[in-house]
Subunit: 217 residues, 2 copies
DNA sequence: TTGCAAATTGAACGATCGACCAAGTAGTAA
DNA sequence: TTACTACTTGGTCGATCGTTCAATTTGCAA
């Protein structure tokens, strides 16, 4: 049946390793191919465990996907909130930098799971199920940043600012998850894995873009 | 077997209607749920035709998807190229407006297929198969616009400009295909179907963003 | 009319899917 | 040791998948 709620005693430790292996494999495959295109057999094979373990630890395929999304969402949002709270009278650029930087830090950490996770996130905005997950895990933090931006741009048009922030958010996801597209558009001159240059370009782009979109007309 | 290449005579007419009905249904469902999540049975049921007709007219599911992408790509790119050629010594804003406007015109045309198609395009950048389709159908036109932008911003950094254009492109796709996300982020105050406001915000956002990203540092 | 190819039909094929089960292993606590 | 729980296993269920087939209908040309 389903996993027994969580270790009630010191911990068995063995099952947790299996859980993480399945989550890592699912994260990589969901990010590369999407939810429907990946089977539980693909995932458990990639993880090096038997098929039934996926159902045992996560119940359904949908539950597994939600666990993939939830695992790193809390880490990301907590870091964003902490950095935002540490800012003192920030301007637009500082606020957006605080929003973007955790992603690039994670991408530079060397842990391969984060790039896979970003590709999962980039796919999330599309379906109705994904939108609900985004709203649950990321909207509270995102709205805190929108409020901060509203304070930083005194006479901002709220609707234009919200539109600008949403577009900056998608530009960010493109910057951390679709390197190949930029390389192709540049004719090959833009290096796919120059994260520092990508972060600089994104910050310049989004700062000017958000301020312009928020400017009342 | 497969469709016999195309009408070799005056035209049978009947099969073309069926083709269009299948393409419309596939476009709507692929856009809403993605390639792998939609079955040929879903599509033919939505189209009101029998299952075997999909294979008869398009061969494989992959061929059908490529036909969906190709059908409106040529229309879009031709219009962009024509408008771009008509510009005389344009600035950044005019070039980007020329790139964005055809999408919003189509979205406002009342034809329901176009919004569905934009959702298909928004999903395309993610997989490797989709990237190839994008490159085939859209990259030549996109690179013409990048060249125009380079001419309009004399001392632009080419890599920064390419990054900026790629981000503007994704912001555009978000603006025409993810209305619900913006509404949620704004707390409900942004109307999901105010295309005029979305186009104004996108043009302001992208113009300032691209110029800022292209500014040599 | 007859002839012929395009178009359409209903049914079926083998493969793969998510989920589930009974049985067995392993590690801890009594 | 024994008892208990967490964990793991191989196998199987019905459903659904893309694709293919032979047979039939349709509509223009001769």
């Amino acid at each position: 049946m389903s996993p027994p709620d969580r270790p009630q005693r010191p911990t068995r430790q063995n099952g947790d390793q299996t859980r993480e292996k399945i989550l890592d494999a699912a994260e990589a495959l969901f990010g590369a191919q999407g939810f429907a295109a990946v089977s539980l057999r693909d995932i458990t094979k990639e993880a090096g465990v038997t098929l039934a373990l996926a159902s045992y630890h996560f119940g359904t395929k949908t539950n597994l996907f939600e666990a993939v999304v939830a695992r790193r969402a809390a880490v990301l949002c907590a870091e964003r909130q902490a950095r935002l709270a540490a800012l003192d009278a920030p301007d637009t650029r500082a606020i957006l930098d605080t929003f973007f930087a955790p992603l690039f830090d994670k991408a530079r950490s060397g842990e391969p799971g984060w790039p896979h996770y970003f590709r999962v996130l980039a796919r999330l905005g599309e379906g109705d199920e994904g939108a609900l997950l985004l709203a649950t895990h990321f909207d509270p933090t995102a709205q805190a940043f929108i409020l901060a931006l509203r304070a930083a741009i005194p006479d901002a048009d709220p609707d234009g600012l919200a539109r600008g922030f949403a577009m900056a958010l998608h530009a960010m996801l493109a910057a951390v998850s679709r390197h190949a597209r930029v390389t192709a558009l540049s004719g090959g001159s833009v290096s796919a894995d120059d994260l520092d240059a990508a972060e600089r370009a994104l910050l310049s782009f989004a700062t000017a873009g958000v301020e312009s979109a928020a400017r009342p007309r």
